[in-house]
C-alpha cells in the first residue's frame, strides 16, 4: 500500500462524511487573559521575593529574640533552637541496670528522667536538647514558690546542666547537642533535697529536681494547689504559634489540652515533659505521629499499655523507652495510658490535631 492509496481511499469517503467535515467548526479561540502573562510573572516573582524576605526576617528576628533573653531565662525554661539536622526526637537511650535508670534523649527537647533505686548520689547530668525547629515551653504549676532555686549562670549560654541525683556518672550526650540545661537542686516541700536513699513509690524512679518556673511567660503559669509540676510541651517541626498556648490545665484530672489552630495537621511531634517536684521525677511524654494514627510514645519508666476507646490493646513495639503503636484507622479516638505502679497517665485524642493529656488525680503527690 502506498500513501497515495490512502489518499485515494480518503477521496472515496461518502459525501456526507466530507460534508460533515467541511461543516465542522473549530472550537472558539481561547479567551485571552485580561491580565497579561508578563504581569502575572512579575506578580509571582514579587510574591516569591516577599515570602523569601519575610521568612528571612522572621528567622533573624527569632534569633535576635533568643539572643536577647537573659541567661537565667534561657537556662530556666524557654529554649527555642533551630538546627538543620533532621534527627527527629529519635533516640531515647536508656541504660537500665539494677542500680539506676538513665535516660538520654538525643533529640527533641527532652530532659531525661533519671531514676536510680539504690546508692544514689548527687551528680550532674547533662541533658541534651536538640530540636530541628523546636520550641520548648515549660508550664510550671507551682502553687508555692517556696523552694529555693539556685540557678547558676551557665558556663555557656547553650549549655545548662541539670544536677540530679543518680548513681550514674555524669554523662553528656554529644550527638548534635545544642542546649543543655543546668539545674540546681531544688527542694520541693522541704528545704532538704529529696532523699535519694529512699526508693520512690513504684521503686523505679528517683527524684530529679526540676527547674525554675519560666519567668518570661506568665501566661504559662498555672497554679494547681498541692502540685508542683513542670510541664514542658514541645512542638517540633511546627511553629510554636500553631498551638494555642498555654496548655490548659483544668479539672480534677488536670487535662492538658492542645489544639492546633492551623488546619494542616502539620505538627509531627509533640512532647510533654512533666516534672513532679514532690518526688523530683520527670515524666517524659511525647507523641510522634508517623502518619494519621501512628504514634511514638516515650516515657521514662513503668508499664505501658496502649488502648483505644473500645479495648485495651497490647503495645505494638517496645524498644527501650520508646513505644511505637499504630492506631487502627477505624478508631481514631485513642487513649494511651501508662503506669509504673503508682502513676497512670492517660493521653487521648481524636486525631493528630487534638491531643488531650489526662492526668489522673492520683498523679498528684500530696
Amino acid at each position: 500500500m502506498r500513501p497515495m492509496d490512502l489518499m485515494e481511499a480518503l477521496g472515496e469517503l461518502p459525501e456526507e462524511d466530507v460534508a460533515e467535515e467541511l461543516a465542522y467548526a473549530a472550537p472558539p479561540k481561547r479567551t485571552t487573559f485580561l491580565v497579561s502573562k508578563p504581569f502575572l510573572t512579575g506578580v509571582s516573582a514579587a510574591a516569591c521575593l516577599f515570602v523569601t524576605v519575610g521568612l528571612g526576617f522572621g528567622i533573624w528576628a527569632g534569633q535576635q529574640e533568643i539572643e536577647s533573653r537573659p541567661p537565667q531565662e534561657t537556662a530556666a525554661v524557654l529554649q527555642t533552637q533551630t538546627t538543620t539536622q533532621t534527627t527527629a526526637l529519635s533516640t531515647t537511650q536508656t541504660t537500665s541496670t539494677a542500680a539506676h535508670f538513665r535516660t538520654q534523649t538525643s533529640s527533641g527537647t527532652a530532659s531525661a528522667a533519671l531514676a536510680s533505686s539504690t546508692g544514689l548520689t548527687t551528680q550532674t547530668t547533662a541533658v541534651s536538647v536538640q530540636t530541628r525547629t523546636a520550641a520548648t515551653a515549660i508550664v510550671s504549676m507551682e502553687p508555692n514558690p517556696e523552694p529555693v532555686i539556685t540557678t547558676e549562670p551557665p558556663m555557656d549560654t547553650t549549655a545548662v546542666q541539670l544536677p540530679e541525683t543518680t548513681s550514674a556518672a555524669p554523662e553528656t550526650t554529644t550527638q548534635s547537642q545544642t542546649v543543655q540545661t543546668e539545674r540546681t537542686t531544688r527542694p520541693t516541700t522541704t528545704t532538704d533535697p529529696p532523699s535519694m536513699d529512699t526508693d520512690p513509690p513504684g521503686g523505679a524512679t528517683a527524684p530529679v529536681h526540676g527547674d525554675a518556673p519560666y519567668p518570661g511567660e506568665p501566661a504559662f503559669h498555672t497554679q494547681v494547689s498541692g502540685m508542683q509540676w513542670t510541664i514542658t510541651p514541645v512542638c517540633m517541626g511546627d511553629e510554636p504559634e500553631t498551638f494555642e498556648l498555654p496548655y490548659q490545665i483544668t479539672g480534677e484530672r488536670y487535662r492538658i489540652e492542645s489544639v492546633e489552630t492551623n488546619d494542616s495537621a502539620s505538627s509531627p511531634f509533640r512532647l510533654y515533659q512533666l516534672y513532679d517536684a514532690e518526688l523530683g521525677r520527670y515524666w517524659l511524654l511525647s507523641q510522634f505521629p508517623m502518619n494519621g494514627f501512628s504514634q511514638e510514645i516515650y516515657w521514662d519508666s513503668g508499664t505501658v499499655q496502649v488502648e483505644n476507646l473500645q479495648d485495651v490493646m497490647p503495645v505494638a513495639q517496645i524498644s527501650g523507652f520508646v513505644i511505637t503503636y499504630t492506631f487502627p484507622e477505624q478508631s481514631p479516638e485513642y487513649t494511651v495510658c501508662w503506669t509504673d505502679g503508682n502513676y497512670i497517665m492517660v493521653m487521648s485524642g481524636s486525631d493528630s490535631r487534638l491531643l488531650t493529656l489526662d492526668l489522673p488525680e492520683h498523679f498528684r503527690t500530696e
Binding site: 500500500m1 502506498r2 500513501p3 497515495m4 492509496d5 490512502l6 489518499m7 485515494e8 481511499a9 480518503l10 477521496g11 472515496e12 469517503l13 461518502p14 459525501e15 456526507e16 462524511d17 466530507v18 460534508a19 467535515e21 467541511l22 465542522y24 473549530a26 472550537p27 472558539p28 479561540k29 481561547r30
Partner: protein, 186 residues
C-alpha cells in the same frame, strides 16, 4: 444570493449558468484544494475545469446532498489523479507531498492497491477509523490528509500550536497504522 439547491436544480435543467455560479462561488476553494495537491496554479485550474466537466456529466443523475462536499470530492479526485501522473515526472515539496511522506511512515510496503475491491476495503477501513476518532482529532486528520492543508494553516485555523497539531497527527497516524493492521490491510 444563489443557493446550492438552485444550482443543482439548474444543473438538472441543463442550464450552463449553473456552472458559472459554481465557478464563482466555489472556484477558488476548489482551485486551492487542487493547488495544495499539485503545487501548480495552472494544473490546479485544469483540475477545476475537469471538476466542472465532471459536475456537468454527473448531475443529473446525481443529486448531491452537499454541493460543496461534492465539488471538493471531485476536484480532489482530479488533482490526485493528476498528481499520480505528475509524481512519475517530478516530486514536489509542498504540503501534499509532505502529507504523503507522513503517511508513508506507517505503510511498510510500497505495493500499490490495484483492485477496486482492495480500494473499497481500504475506504471502509478508513471510514471506520475516522468514525472512531474524536471530532477534533478527526477534523485535524481530515484537514491534513484530505484537504492537504499545511500544519501551519491547520494550527491557525484551530487555534493550536504547530507542535500540538504535529503531535496529534503523529498519534493519529499511529492509531491508523494499528487500525489497518487489525483490518489485515498492512
Amino acid at each position: 444570493m444563489v443557493s446550492d439547491e438552485s444550482i443543482i436544480s439548474r444543473l438538472h435543467e441543463r442550464d450552463e449558468s449553473a456552472l458559472q455560479d459554481i465557478r464563482r462561488l466555489y472556484g477558488e476553494l476548489c482551485c486551492q484544494m487542487a493547488y495544495r495537491i499539485l503545487e501548480n496554479r495552472q494544473d490546479a485550474e485544469e483540475c477545476v475545469n475537469d471538476m466542472l466537466l465532471a459536475v456537468w456529466n454527473s448531475i443529473p443523475p446525481n443529486l448531491p446532498m452537499s454541493l460543496q462536499a461534492y465539488l471538493i470530492t471531485l476536484v480532489r479526485h482530479a488533482a490526485i489523479n493528476k498528481a499520480k501522473y505528475e509524481s512519475r515526472q517530478k516530486r514536489g515539496n509542498g504540503a501534499f507531498t509532505l502529507a504523503l511522506d507522513e503517511l508513508a511512515e506507517i505503510l511498510p510496503s510500497g505495493e500499490q492497491v490495484e483492485s477496486a475491491v482492495e480500494c473499497r476495503e481500504l475506504m471502509l477501513a478508513m471510514r471506520a477509523f475516522l468514525s472512531s476518532l474524536k471530532p477534533e482529532t478527526r477534523h485535524l486528520f481530515m484537514q491534513r490528509y484530505y484537504m492537504a492543508e499545511s500544519v501551519q494553516t491547520i494550527a491557525k485555523k484551530n487555534h493550536m500550536s504547530e507542535s500540538a497539531v504535529k503531535v496529534t497527527l503523529f498519534r493519529t497516524r499511529k492509531k491508523l497504522k494499528e487500525h489497518l493492521r487489525k483490518e489485515g490491510l498492512l
